[in-house]
């Protein structure tokens, strides 16, 4: 076709006609919603639910992370290298001055506890970030510096410190923490020394070696300092995985909500085109309308997400506090990162779905062409394409499973697995229904499957969403439950002694050991010292090998006679983190310092601990660190409470120096129950969203259903039977989806535990299977599908006879 430039000009000034068309066209488009408010509700609710799920999870994550960030920023942890004492936890202040005067640019930190509050003193004049995020500039310097300077804390912490000190309430300070001038904290703690020194990133041209000025200090690299962040990340990984998967589910639901809106207005769009509305104008108008609606849905969703997060956050906060001692504020703030991302998801998803729909509208013949055979052929071609893409993605996932060694690749692997599985679903469902159709010879059975196949194209997106939801739930449930089992076993191992006693001085240590041994109890003294193992920071743990160790400790890898060799001082144990980082395994020899090297007899699982550990016998420890006494004792006893009282009476140790392990264990387990509450709540929400997608797809198809069902009705099936079959079909399809989702979910769990976890934290969690949980999830999925199908089925069962008859009267 050759375009003639003059032609357009003759038609008149189209630019001025555009604004005139906006009014009538927009009124026509919007009139659809006024006439069908339920569809508007469904569209908005679908978007809102998807956004809510995503932004709810984001909110929880963002809130918890913000709390850590506040803590890390306040303490300069993670960002800076630090100088720590090789032994003990104190540095003389004179040493700080000596270092500065030698050209070492360091800044002092003093930490201590008062009334259960962690006090951190810094020198704002030399600290790299002043008082962290604290708004010190609003206070006169003379009110902050010095022994009577003000401290900064959040409202709750300020209350706990009461009137001990002047406090400026600052919500930016991490919960449970009070920050102030080092002079003020020294005065509060009655100390004149320091805990550690931050090494500033920029150092002068020349300075002497550390050993010449402060041989008792060692440099701890920054990456090793951010303990809290590393630990709690393993919990956040759980949530992030959920967020990631809910994002996928959300995209699907946005897609089907939009598809519904388009499908129902297909006729109107055609008419508008026939009456002379230019395609680009119409497309722009529809895009604007949809994006505006999406923005409304997203706003509702963000609000809903906020409520979800607010309801779940106290549990999450309690979980993190209990699990890792990380302080997370239980209150929620509106943070731009999550409500913006919620909006982004809704608008991005809408735009993505719009692009596809508009592409189709642009190619839609202006008048209903009605070439069903061609369409079926196109569908078959699409199925082949999907199957090909699915195979490619799954193959990529399989390859990545062998290669992935960082978190990012782990998530790419998750993405490939999910998308591949989702794309594989429609071809599989098609194949299954094709195989089942000839299985029985009754006409209803055959019609049922043929009809199911006919419906699959319209339902496939919703079914994919359900697949993703179910597999995400299976995967995350596997991960969380495996984590729990492993951790409980680990607690049993590490908390085997019924009573733990901490001492402060060498005299107390000796007296306690003598006293306990005198009573014939099994005593497990523990000595610790920092060390560099294979160039990595680690901790030496001197233990007295006894039956408790032999009975309770489990190994990731071990040679024979592990404990005998450790006891004899001829071998050591490594924890898994160190073994993986240094790639040292049983049989390898490890240098412990002072010219001492010993072979490794075993590697133990050490969950939730970021630092490397070397376990060795007391005798070996003694050779390396003769000055270190045991600060911690485990005691085996049948009556911890009584023993506690006796020790207190005999040795004058304070009550809080002794911990009854049963109490600790119960607390830890309670924490897991909370984790499960959160996981369960999110499980149900994801399934709810997927159910919504099904509902929406069925509604989309409902209008086309009447002509399809009318002949069957005419052949003698009642409307009630037809409705029942519709419901049954949803459940059968959900069952197919569930059966596909189960292996995908297990693969997901495996990736999370064995790939992502190892990459992120350096330890692998053994995978356990939970058939009961999976069965329950299956029931939930079927219920979600049945619930979603119930309303369309009910509507179908009540289709007016006239509507069914009209199908025939319209036939020419």
């Amino acid at each position: 076709m050759t375009a003639t430039p003059e032609a357009g000009a003759v038609i008149g000034a189209p630019h001025r006609t555009r604004p005139r068309m906006i009014g009538p066209c927009l009124r026509a488009l919007l009139s659809h919603w006024r006439r069908n408010p339920l569809q508007l509700f469904a569209f908005l609710a679908g978007l809102a639910l998807a956004t809510a799920l995503w932004s709810g999870v984001q909110a929880i994550n963002a809130e918890a992370r913000a709390s850590y960030d506040a803590a890390a920023a306040t303490l300069g942890e993670g960002q800076y290298d630090q100088l720590l004492p090789r032994s003990g936890d104190r540095i003389a202040q004179a040493r700080y001055v000596a270092l500065r005067r030698a050209g070492w640019l360091v800044s002092p930190i003093l930490e201590g506890r008062l009334n259960g509050v962690r006090l951190v003193g810094v020198d704002p004049v030399t600290a790299p970030a002043g008082l962290g995020g604290v708004s010190i500039a609003e206070e006169p310097a003379s009110a902050v510096l010095g022994p009577s300077g003000r401290l900064f804390a959040d409202a709750e912490t300020a209350q706990r410190l009461g009137d001990l000190v002047d406090i400026t309430v600052d919500p930016n300070v991490a919960p449970g923490l009070a920050v102030g001038d080092i002079g003020a904290v020294q005065a509060l703690l009655g100390r004149g020394d320091l805990s550690r020194l931050i090494l500033l990133p920029e150092q002068p041209l020349a300075r002497p070696a550390l050993a010449e000025i402060a041989p008792e200090l060692l440099v701890q690299p920054s990456s090793q300092s951010a303990d809290i962040a590393q630990l709690t990340d393993s919990f956040h990984l759980n949530l992030t995985a959920f967020g990631f998967l809910s994002f996928c589910v959300g995209l699907f639901i946005v897609h089907s909500a939009l598809g519904l809106a388009f499908e129902q207005r297909r006729g109107m769009i055609r008419t508008l085109r026939a009456l002379g509305t230019p395609l680009r104008f119409l497309v722009a108008l529809i895009a604007a309308e949809m994006l505006a609606l999406a923005a409304i849905g997203a706003a509702l969703g963000v609000l809903l997400g906020f409520l979800i997060a607010a309801a779940l956050l106290p549990d999450v906060a309690a979980t993190l506090r209990g699990l890792y001692g990380a302080q997370v504020s239980g209150s929620l703030q509106l943070r731009a990162e999550w409500w913006l991302s919620g909006f982004g998801l809704a608008l991005f998803g809408t735009a993505l779905a719009l692009a596809g729909r508009i592409w189709r509208v642009a190619r839609m013949p202006l008048l209903a062409g009605g070439r069903p055979r061609a369409w079926v052929a196109a569908h078959a071609a699409r199925l082949r394409l999907q199957a090909g893409a699915a195979l490619a993605l799954l193959a990529a996932a399989a390859v990545l499973a062998f290669l992935a060694d960082d978190v990012l690749t782990g998530f790419v692997l998750l993405g490939c697995l999910n998308l591949g599985a989702a794309l594989a679903l429609p071809p599989i469902a098609e194949r299954v229904s094709r195989m089942l159709q000839p299985w029985r010879r009754t006409p209803v059975w055959r019609w049922f499957w043929a009809d199911t196949r006919q419906q699959l194209p319209g339902l496939s997106l919703a079914l994919m969403a359900l697949l993703l939801a179910v597999s995400a739930n299976v995967g995350v449930a596997t991960m969380v439950s495996s984590f729990r089992l492993t951790f409980v076993a680990f607690l049993d191992q590490r908390l085997a002694p019924e009573l733990f006693v901490r001492v402060e001085t060498a005299q107390e240590s000796a007296a306690l050991e003598t006293y306990l041994l005198g009573r014939g109890l099994e005593v497990l003294p523990l000595r610790r010292a920092p060390a560099q193992i294979a160039g990595l920071p680690a901790r030496l743990m001197g233990v007295r090998v006894g039956p408790t160790y032999r009975d309770n400790w489990t190994f990731v890898a071990a040679d024979a006679d592990v404990w005998d060799r450790v006891e004899a001082g001829s071998a050591v144990l490594l924890n898994e983190q160190l073994a993986r980082r240094a790639d040292l395994w049983p049989g390898d020899v490890v240098a412990l310092g002072e010219g001492l090297s010993l072979p490794i007899a075993g590697v133990v699982g050490d969950y939730g601990n970021p630092t490397g550990q070397v376990v060795l016998s007391h005798a070996v420890f003694e050779r390396l660190h003769p000055d270190r006494f045991a600060r911690q004792f485990g005691v085996r006893t049948a009556s911890p409470a009584a023993l506690r009282a006796e020790i207190s009476a005999a040795l004058g140790l304070p009550a809080n120096a002794m911990v009854d392990q049963a109490v600790v264990k119960t607390a830890s387990l309670r924490v897991f129950e909370r984790t499960f509450l959160v996981t369960d709540a999110l499980n149900l929400l994801t399934l709810g969203v997927a159910g919504f997608a099904i509902l929406m797809s069925l509604l989309t198809l409902a209008d086309q259903r009447v002509p399809q069902l009318a002949p069957v009705w005419a052949l003698g099936l009642t409307r009630r039977q037809l409705g029942g079959l519709e419901l049954l079909r949803a459940v059968v399809l959900a069952l197919i989806v569930y059966l596909c989702a189960l292996p995908v979910g297990l693969a997901l769990g495996w990736v999370l535990l064995s790939v992502v976890n190892v990459a992120a934290f350096g330890w692998q969690l053994p995978i356990y299977l939970f058939p009961y949980d999976y069965a329950l999830l299956g029931l939930y999925a079927l219920a979600a599908a049945a619930l979603a199908a119930a309303w369309p089925a009910w509507r179908l069962a009540r289709t007016p006879l006239g509507a069914l008859l009209k199908v025939f009267s319209n036939e020419r």
């Binding site: 202040q93 004179a94 700080y96 001055v97 500065r100 005067r101 030698a102 050209g103 640019l105 020198d123 704002p124 004049v125 030399t126 600290a127 790299p128 970030a129 002043g130 008082l131 010190i136 500039a137 006169p140 310097a141 003379s142 510096l145 010095g146 022994p147 001038d181 080092i182 002079g183 003020a184 020294q186 004149g192 920029e202 150092q203 002068p204 041209l205 020349a206 300075r207």
Partner: protein
């Protein structure tokens, strides 16, 4: 260091000068204030005066390398007090900070340090003389024989200084008035140092010799609140005379100036407001500011009319309170060399 904190610490005294009562022994916060007729006592007055709000030991030097390349050098220790007096440990109200710089024709290196008083990280003692912050020191058996070091991440220096003349006292025998309202400081200098030593620069060590000028000033009220900044010149002429002149720029566009004409034997003649004139000839864009880098400087009473030009126009001190400080060359009626400091040029 939190730049805002430093701002509060250092600029707060400036804002608190509204009272403007000079002549009284103390101000409202209990700080001592300068008064005319003070009898300086050495070596004690080389050390810190913790009862005053602010004080500095300010050394600049014009140097030459073996190939004749000109260099500039700065070593400055500041003391500022939150309250008068000194106490032990973190209780001390004294805050110290310091700037060091080396200027070459092409580059400018700067570093800064901070310290709390009372814990030994920084301070100034008279006998033997010792001013230090971290590893930076200016020390010697007496004030005429000093050694000096400082370093940053990419430069450093080690210098030896020998005084070739007496101390000189500005204004009214060391009482230097800074505004028509009467704000003043105690101000004396040692402008006759011979200096030699080694600069450590990225290209390697450079042996240098030259002359240095040490300013000592302390006060509790250095600027009037309607003064926005100052331009300060220390010039050494080929005939052996020296000139210290400054003008304080006031918010109404006027200037307050003062100058000291120093004969080769150390005889000092002080000139009152208006005698010393400095007019910008050319500005240069540095760190988002337009800073004058060439000046016409005149002291008509001494038939002085010279052009002062920056050796390196980019001698910007990008420290917590940024300013321009660098070596200059002098041409015109009295050729020579010197140093120029300019503060209070706003960022645009």
């Amino acid at each position: 260091m939190n730049a805002r904190l430093l701002f509060v610490l250092v600029l707060w005294p400036f804002a608190a000068l509204g009272q403007g009562f000079s002549g009284l022994g103390t101000d409202a916060d209990g700080f001592a204030t300068p008064a005319p007729g003070y009898a300086f006592s050495f070596p004690a007055d080389h050390a810190a005066h913790p009862d005053f709000r602010i004080e500095w030991w300010y050394l600049t030097a014009n140097l030459r390398g073996p190939d004749g390349t000109p260099y500039g050098l700065q070593w400055t220790l500041f003391r500022t007090a939150l309250a008068p007096g000194e106490e032990e440990g973190w209780r001390s109200p004294q805050i110290w900070f310091a700037h060091a710089a080396v200027t070459t024709p092409e580059r400018h290196f700067a570093a800064e340090r901070f310290a709390r008083g009372g814990i030994g990280q920084a301070g100034v003692e008279a006998t033997p003389f010792r001013a230090w912050i971290d590893e930076w020191v200016l020390e010697g058996p007496d004030f005429d024989h000093l050694r000096m070091t400082a370093q940053g991440p990419d430069f450093g220096y080690q210098m030896a200084l020998t005084a070739q003349g007496p101390l000189v006292f500005h204004g009214d025998a060391g009482f230097s008035v800074k505004s028509v309202e009467g704000q003043a400081s105690y101000y004396y200098s040692q402008p006759f140092f011979r200096i030699e030593g080694t600069l450590s620069l990225p290209g390697g060590p450079v042996e240098v010799t030259g002359e240095a000028w040490l300013d000592r000033e302390w006060s509790s009220q250095p600027l009037s609140e309607r003064q926005s900044g100052w331009d300060w010149f220390s010039l050494s002429f080929a005939d052996g005379h020296k000139l210290m002149g400054f003008q304080l720029r006031q918010t109404d566009g006027t200037r307050y100036s003062a100058a000291s004409w120093i004969a080769p034997d150390g005889t000092l003649t002080a000139f009152p407001d208006g005698a010393f004139r400095a007019r910008p000839l050319e500005t240069h864009r540095v760190a988002g500011r337009d800073v004058p880098v060439a000046w016409q400087v005149a002291l008509p009473d001494r038939a002085l009319d010279v052009t002062v030009t920056a050796l390196n126009r980019d001698a910007w001190m990008g420290v917590s309170i940024p300013y321009w400080e660098g070596p200059v060359t002098v041409t015109g009626s009295h050729p020579g060399i010197g140093y120029l400091e300019m503060t209070g040029y706003p960022e645009e």
